[in-house]
Amino acid sequence: MIIERARIKSNRPLAHEIWEMQFEAPNIAREYMGSGQFINILTVDDWNHPLRRPMSIASSEDGFVSIIYKIFGNMTRELTQKKSGETLDLLGPLGNIFSKWDNGSYPILIGGGVGLAPILNLKKACDDNKIEYTMIIGARSGNEHFISHEPEKNIYLTTDDGSMGEKGTVMVPLQRLVEINKNAFIFACGPEPMLRAVKEFAINNDIQAQLSVESYMGCGIGFCQGCVIQRKISKIQTHSYHEKYSLVCMDGPIYNAMDIKFD
């Protein structure tokens, strides 16, 4: 992990309230290990907001890293005001990575809401490695989508209001597609209700699944012990102090679905 003052290469809207920012961050890019890792961004230099904001890395190559962020509150709205050439203080890369997507199973990539970045990152890794997959991206409405609904390419969009792709949540195509692909392995990132549904579905249908979870973070490096998630088995913690909780910043953010509890 490194703290790097990174120059903004681009900052642009992709869809309604969803933006992409690309940084020139050669040191972080050099240490980057793979899809799932995140950076902790200092969005303002003053102390009115003391804490960094964790953002999943959407891509990393040639000395650049990018994030995809959803406007959620004041801090993310402030991020949209940043111009290329300005700099931001980044800490990263942090956290663990999606694994076993290249082990011969059939990856089903599921992203929703703010959880798009690591899923698009993993999609690219699959493309680069010529691994076939299905991707399902959910949103409340069509204006939040910035990729196309292309079932012929195994890319499915869903919207809560039916304005684009299939109406309903990501669970609608997921249930159907799992029937077709018996060797499925789910990789998901998104809001907690979505992850809960995916987790329950995966366990009930005996499908392996890795989830990228969100947690309120104080530091991202294990100092504050704030970003805990309850876990079911003891072997997934290495950085929290005991067995009941795992530190999302260092033991996560990627967990096997059956290893964690959302309650």
Binding site: W47, N48, P50, L51, Y216, G218, F223, C224, V228, Y241
Partner: protein, 311 residues
């Protein structure tokens, strides 16, 4: 001009222990000092106050444990820690190899727990410089708070622990009391070498959209720049009445903040919440303190202590 900075003297003394500089890191904001060697050279720090240790390991509170607030944050970690046995076995040997001073923070629910922990540490050889006694954690039911709000209990605990160790004994005071000075005096009279002030201020954060409290335990400890004025008052009041050194804590993020605390009466300061944002910030604060001293006529940091001018 490097030769000028060599003239500054940052050394401070507490009891019979000297510290290379007055910039320490606060308990609970820096783990056990071993977490981020890539981001901070801990040997530059005046001291590391390690995360509170209890007799048995503690899981801590359920999430959510933290939330950002205006110029601060609220935490309710619940004293998650590895327990004294692991501290002795895993960490004390690592501390032998550090040139910075280690202050072990201890928390307990009754006097017996503090005593057991300290006796266990005293029974082995170690390089730790002393103890900071957490009598003021706001986040644990039946926690240290009952000691920290009561003069008699504070005196009794201090006196008991004084009988166990010759190392530095620092009592960490809570701001959530009606009269912090009387608690400080109780600690001093019972044999403490110093007091540190302040621990976090009890606070609450509510999400207006959801109607939910942001922290699982409803109330938590407010820290960060938001509490600096509260910390300065505590240090200034304590300095008027106590003769033992005061270690200032609360919202320190810059060399100027450290100077302000020393002017108010602090002999040393602890950097807390700022570590979450930048683990190496204390190194910057040390450099900044040197520069401030260089630019003034006072080259000796200790000369700042308690010299604030009031109207």
């Amino acid at each position: 001009m490097q030769w000028i900075s060599n003239l500054t003297n940052l050394t401070i003394h507490i009891g019979n222990t000297s510290f290379e500089n007055p910039i320490w890191v606060a308990s609970g904001t820096f783990g056990y000092g071993t977490e981020a060697p890539e981001l901070v050279d801990v040997n530059q720090l005046g001291a590391i106050v390690t995360k509170s240790i209890t007799r048995q390991p503690r899981e801590g509170n359920p999430p959510p444990r933290i939330v950002e607030t205006a110029s601060g944050m609220i935490n309710s970690i619940g004293l998650a820690n590895i327990g004294v046995e692991k501290y002795i076995k895993k960490l004390l040997p690592i501390y032998e190899g550090l040139s910075t001073k280690i202050i072990m923070n201890i928390a307990g629910t009754d006097i017996q727990e503090y005593v057991e922990i300290m006796e266990m540490v005293e029974s082995v050889s170690s390089a730790i410089a002393g103890y900071e006694i957490n009598i003021s954690c706001p986040n644990v039911k039946k926690g240290g708070m009952e000691f920290g709000v009561d003069c008699e209990m504070t005196a009794k605990l201090t006196e008991t622990l004084r009988g166990i160790t010759e190392r530095l004994l620092i009592m960490k005071l809570s701001p959530n009391v009606s009269d912090i000075v009387s608690i400080g005096l109780s600690a001093e009279n019972a044999g403490a070498d110093a007091v540190s002030a302040i621990n976090t201020v009890v606070g609450m954060s509510i999400n207006a959209k959801t109607g939910m409290s942001d922290i699982f335990t409803t109330y938590g400890g407010l820290s960060g720049p938001a509490i600096k004025p509260i910390g300065l008052v505590a240090v200034h009041k304590l300095y008027q009445q106590l003769t033992i050194p005061i270690i200032g804590i609360g919202g320190i993020v810059s060399g100027e903040d450290a100077v302000e605390y020393m002017l108010a009466g602090a002999t040393a300061v602890q950097v807390g919440t700022a570590n979450f944002r930048d683990p190496g910030i204390s190194e910057n604060i040390i450099d900044s303190l040197k520069n401030i001293l260089n630019e003034s006529n006072r080259k000796v940091a200790a000369d700042l202590i308690g010299t604030v001018q009031t109207h």
